[in-house]
Assembly symmetry: C2
Homo-oligomer: 524 residues x 2
């Protein structure tokens, strides 16, 4: 292990002194490390590499981390699905707007399609003015340009762009004269009753990869020639000098800019070879097998990667109306949203595993398992018409028995494991106070109810009566009055009542998966 | 000339069939040109290269255009002023907010400083909440990020970033984990009464150029190693894989990303050489002679290129308050705004030349020159307390005598040159209807006044009486009634009265330059 580069290893020290646990940001400068930094000693222990440094610092690296593979940011061709039209013979990536909004898995699938295939289609997006901005805001931020916050794609009397006419438009990327170029485009169809005006998409990465296969020289010319893209109208004068095909430091295709209309005047050497390569690439982008065609209808919203896909439209007649609204946004925020959705999915998977694993074990002397108990509590909340956040609180109220320094078993041995607090704290990583606070207070609610509601204590199960004493017994008058003042008191009392009802052996018990969409929608 | 590459030449054909005159966008696809395109014949004529193409198309290229030099988009080190702190010993690029808003030349100087030196400081920006957004909107568009539309830089109880603490921050660029990275940052100081908390800037292009000079190998390593920059908090998980120093296809430094805090884990080969190069570059960025330091006071707003400058701050004590508001924006819009300002300056220069050149000649039989006449009309408008747009209309009302197919001299030969229309049309390239319409109607206003105001016609100068007849004589009743209904009629009548007053030989006549700021402020 000691052949690992010392500065690399030290720069990645995960200890709280080196790295802010909240955001992973490093707390030292690379220049703060001594010039003669070396590993003084190292050893593998309990699945970790323990390192003592020449400057006395100690680091501990999980061995699994040491062997992780390189990920990437998803901007290059690597790991993407480069396509031709035939790849979508059985349909294009699409989702219903309502499902996209309500189901994080569906949202993740849409965003993943934009990352991997370069586009996705949302159906049933309300045909309301400015709705396209709401779509962009569902995963990121609108990028304002000289065309405004949004732009209307329809016939204009004095168009400053071919888009605002009825003419056909050949496959192209938008705004190549901007740097940074908007990396995402959205087109939301409000009306399309004209004859013609169909949409087309071409995978520019695929086209570039074909050029690389068929004519590596031409590919190289296009990657190393900065092309001036220009746009000029009364209020605007934009210019960006960028290659038609941009590759990263490792030679992987990273961005395609292709817009014949706005290529300005190249100067200097190599014009002949540039034009030969440009014409060859242009011909590839027009191959029929690359062109995926479809028709946008009212309520359809296309989201696509403007650094990769070329978009096109056929000419249309003025026998009907065609009106799209479009806007720009960026891939980085989309990828972030997708990563956070994946994180949530992983968290839900973790909770599901608790229900299936430890939760299937005995529940502290009750005649049901812990999982059955929590699922029955959720079902009772549902049956009572409780709002989603209280169904979730009922479902997760005892999750703290699995977390923290003390287990639920310790509680039964007379040591309060403070499971309502540890559970609430753990849940706060994903859920807001509307879920966590009833969980936190559900033990206090038992002590409160025993104090203020005649007959409540008598109805407790034997085990619950036992833990009540470990947890401090019924509240005194001062405690009860203070509890009743807490903002979450009523919710906690409600959860507590479902808690008591949820200890029935053999009662109908829903499956955990039933609650996954509800939990996902509540996660922040 | 025929050795020019045919496709290059044809792609740049400026004719209206090939290129939309409104925005310069091309109206054909590169693939529309025949495979055997060739120049059939060419000749130089009247300063143009005339070309007959093998497909029958004809093109005409100004020879001056053929010999133009390559411009660029201003994103690389080329043409920039790479600096060390000593270069600003006599002060940094700065301007007063009011002058910046009121004087296009001042605004252009500020924006040019951001392009060339990477930063500029605006003083006296109102210390109002969200004002930083107004500054960004004065030249471009705000880029929203996970930190919001704007972010408050002050101590926060649970900071997700070192910026929101009182700690010192070493020179760095912001948001390296975004791709596209925000290319501009604004920091607006609302309060700075704490001890410490001074600001620092380092020219990252200069630092990179020093690395290239001192250690070309290390420079090469940094340009070809994609580095994962990462940021993760509760709602965000961003990653961008970009080199610390990005060069364009010609090897010119184009972007610097430097942020020790958010460099993630590199994997793969070359870790040793990367870390050696990274440490060397980091050491260069910390050289005292590179660090320009200054203190932001309330009302100061720093605008800087986040792809080039590293910014820093010293630690501060909590003996006072320090509160900045920041936002991000992009260089492309800033450069566009600057180009449009330059275009306006060129237009004003052109008008100034008309006053100094042709305008200094005889004014159609009057005892003053054309320039004196128009300047006197402007002075009369000013003396009458007219609003700026009418002073401008008075100043420019006869500009049409220099434009259009017929000159003012033709008018005196009995042919109406319709100078009010040609002038208004020409002015409409820069001015709105509040300026152009009184110009357009000032001849009609004479015909109107002669019809409706007893004694008006008798007061006309001899030349004006002559041109009245060429222009159609006094209006009849129907014409007068229609004129009086026009929205700009009253303004046109006012301009007309100043017109008549402005023919006094030897009267005090202001200089054209007096009106340049007023005109500049009215230009769109």
């Amino acid at each position: 292990m000691t052949e690992l580069p010392p500065y690399w290893l030290r720069d990645n020290c995960p200890c709280a002194e080196c790295r802010d646990p909240r955001n992973g940001q490093k707390l030292f400068q690379i220049g703060d490390l001594p010039d003669d930094l070396a590993i003084a000693a190292s050893a593998e222990l309990d699945g970790n590499l323990e390192v003592l440094w020449s400057d006395g610092h100690r680091s501990r690296y999980p061995l699994a981390w040491l062997h992780e593979e390189a990920g990437d940011d998803g901007r290059t061709e690597q790991g993407k699905r480069l396509w031709t039209a035939a790849d979508f013979a059985r349909g294009i990536p699409e989702a219903d707007w309502a499902s996209y909004l309500g189901d994080p898995a569906e949202q993740a699938a849409v965003l993943a399609a934009v990352r991997h295939s370069g586009f996705a289609l949302l159906r049933g997006v309300p045909t309301a003015d400015r709705q396209v901005l709401r779509v962009a805001e569902s995963f990121g931020y609108v990028r304002v340009t000289n065309y405004g916050e949004l732009f209307d794609v329809r016939i204009e009397p004095d168009p400053n762009n071919l888009a605002f006419t009825a003419e056909a438009i050949a496959p192209h990327t938008d705004n190549p004269y901007r740097d940074p170029v908007p990396t995402l485009q959205l087109l939301h169809c409000l009306e399309n009753s004209a004859t013609g005006g169909d949409s087309g998409l071409v995978d520019g990465f695929r086209a570039a990869a074909l050029l690389r296969d068929e004519s590596p020289e031409d590919f190289a010319v296009l990657t190393r020639t900065p092309v001036p893209f220009v746009f000029r109208d009364r209020r605007t004068e934009l210019r960006a000098d960028r290659p038609l095909i941009d590759v990263d430091a490792l030679g992987r295709i990273r961005e395609v800019r292709f817009n014949n209309r706005s290529i300005g005047t190249l100067r200097g050497d190599g014009l002949e070879s540039f034009y030969a390569a440009y014409r060859r690439f242009a011909a590839i982008t027009l191959r029929p097998e690359l062109l995926l065609t479809f028709r946008l209808g009212p309520g359809d919203c296309l989201v696509f990667d403007n650094t990769r896909l070329l978009h096109a439209r056929t000419a249309f007649q003025q026998d009907g109306h065609r009106h799209l609204q479009g806007c720009y946004a960026d891939l980085d925020a989309l990828s972030s949203t997708l990563a956070v959705l994946h994180r949530r999915t992983a968290a839900l998977d973790g909770i599901a595993e608790l229900f299936a694993g430890e939760g299937a074990g005995e529940y502290l002397g009750e005649p049901v398992t812990m999982a059955e108990h929590m699922l029955q509590a959720a079902a009772a909340a549902e049956a009572a018409g409780a709002p989603d956040h209280l169904v979730a609180a009922a479902l997760l109220h005892d999750i703290g028995h699995f977390h923290g320094a003390l287990h639920g078993r310790d509680l039964m041995r007379g040591r309060d494991n403070r499971h309502s607090d540890t559970g609430a704290d753990w849940l706060a990583r994903w859920f807001g106070p509307e879920v966590t606070e009833p969980v936190r207070l559900h033990v206090a609610a038992k002590r409160y109810l025993c104090a203020v509601e005649p007959g409540y204590r008598e109805r407790l199960s034997e085990a619950s009566e036992y833990t009540l004493r470990v947890q401090g017994g019924p509240m005194d008058d001062r405690e009860s009055a203070a509890f009743a003042e807490l903002p979450g008191a009523a919710d906690a009392v409600a959860v507590r009542r479902w808690d008591e009802q949820a200890k029935a052996p053999g009662a109908a018990t829903p499956d955990f998966e039933r609650y996954r969409p509800l939990l996902a929608a509540l996660m922040r």
